[in-house]
């Protein structure tokens, strides 16, 4: 049987090879939401960079105004928004850069960085009531 593409070395790659994004043709990708796409094992979407993080952003629904600043400025497609609502962080793709926290306009912020190992429920219980004013 042919080897799985994931087990092939770069030196076994045939020059001019194509890497497929999906396991079957998707005619109109822009109209298909992420969770309904037939991702191929060769699509980076199927991988995780979560272990790059030292700190992770935690989302607190209570203060969020769904402005979508975090969605537009996240470099890594890691803010999940549906129907104009912010839903949460995709931890397999989030690299912990902290941009979403910086651009979040609410007070207290609706996204804050916490240590990677901390449980999200514990993080939520430690949420500041009002952020200290920056100098």
């Amino acid at each position: 049987m042919a080897k799985d593409i994931k087990d092939l070395g770069w030196n076994e790659l045939i020059p001019g090879a194509a890497l497929f994004s999906f396991t079957e043709p998707v005619e109109d990708v822009a109209e298909v939401p992420m969770d309904e796409r037939p991702y191929a094992p060769t699509n980076s979407h199927e991988y995780s960079v979560g272990d790059w993080r030292v700190e992770k952003p935690v989302f607190n629904r209570d203060y969020c105004i769904d402005c979508q600043f975090c969605w537009v400025f996240c470099p890594d497609m890691s803010i999940l928004s549906r129907d104009k609502k912010m839903i949460g962080v995709i931890y397999d793709h989030c690299k912990g850069c902290g941009i979403c926290v910086e651009v979040c306009p609410t007070n207290p912020k609706s996204l804050l960085m916490f240590p990677e190992h901390m449980d999200n429920d514990e993080a939520l219980s430690k949420w500041p009531s009002k952020e200290e004013k920056k100098k």
């Binding site: 593409i5 890497l19 998707v26 822009a30 109209e31 980076s44 979407h45 104009k84 690299k95 941009i99």
Partner: protein, 332 residues
Amino acid sequence: MTKKIKNLKEFSLSNDRYEGANLMCPGCSHNIIVREVLNATNDPVIVATATGCLEVCTAVYPKTSWDVSWIHIGFENAAVAIATAQAAYEVLKRKGRLPEATKKMIEEGREPKFVAFAGDGGTYDIGFQSLSGAFERGHNFMYVCLDNEVYANTGGQRSSSTPIGASTTTSPAGTVSYGEKMMKKSMVEIMSDHGAPYVAQVSPSKWKDLVKKVQKGFEVNGPVYINAQSACTTEWKHAPEDTIEVSDLGVESCVWPLYEIINERDEHGIIYNTKLNITYRPKNKIPVEEYLAAQPRFKHLFKPENRHIIELWQKAVDAKWEHLQRREEAGV
């Protein structure tokens, strides 16, 4: 078909065609720009990427981060690769040999868009011959320069986009040098002077301005050049979470003015009208010093012996801003 994007909430309905778990650094602007450009349309997009961070980090064997048709090409020829793909598309269309799904989209007014992404090294320097040729021949495509002012992917060498005073690995600051000696090349004007119908300068932090310009560019027939400010956390040496703030400082200080130049040409290619529009005017133009201070690549400029370079910077930025305003006013 121009996608309706009235506000950010509406924009957030976009389904990204660029994927996570690519290997770009945390906080990289290249990614933010690519997202904003691709999400500016729902039409099919064909992308060619010149070698540089974006290409190398989104196609690490055996993975791809692209859900659009994507061409992996050399450092020096992204413009020609995408122009050729577009020319091939025109031929297939004329001969009626496009796939049925594509034909249907064209009937709905959703013509495929052809986009090249390249770094400043691949644009200002090494890909310039291919870019200039493709613009001169008037192919129908959009070229987006991800301008981080340095050859980031190979360890931070200076390019002709690197601004004066920046410390890079080939223009290091130290006891005998204040860093880069040359002023940044004026790429936007150079591309406009090719007679291109539309060129613009954008910043990912001003997402709406960027999206509007990209949409305008997609509507135009002929080569379009977009110069995108791309704060690079690794080479500008700011913290990853500060990417948007640093970009904003660039815009608010007029170091990175947002404007567009439109050339109207007749059927012989003669330009009969040129218009320059400044698309964002800072309410309070902040001192260049604030922009420089936010990036450790300029740290040494704050030593007394290098202060004159900061003054020079301010002078250069003021002169450029003045020049842009004069061009806008005169309609040339």
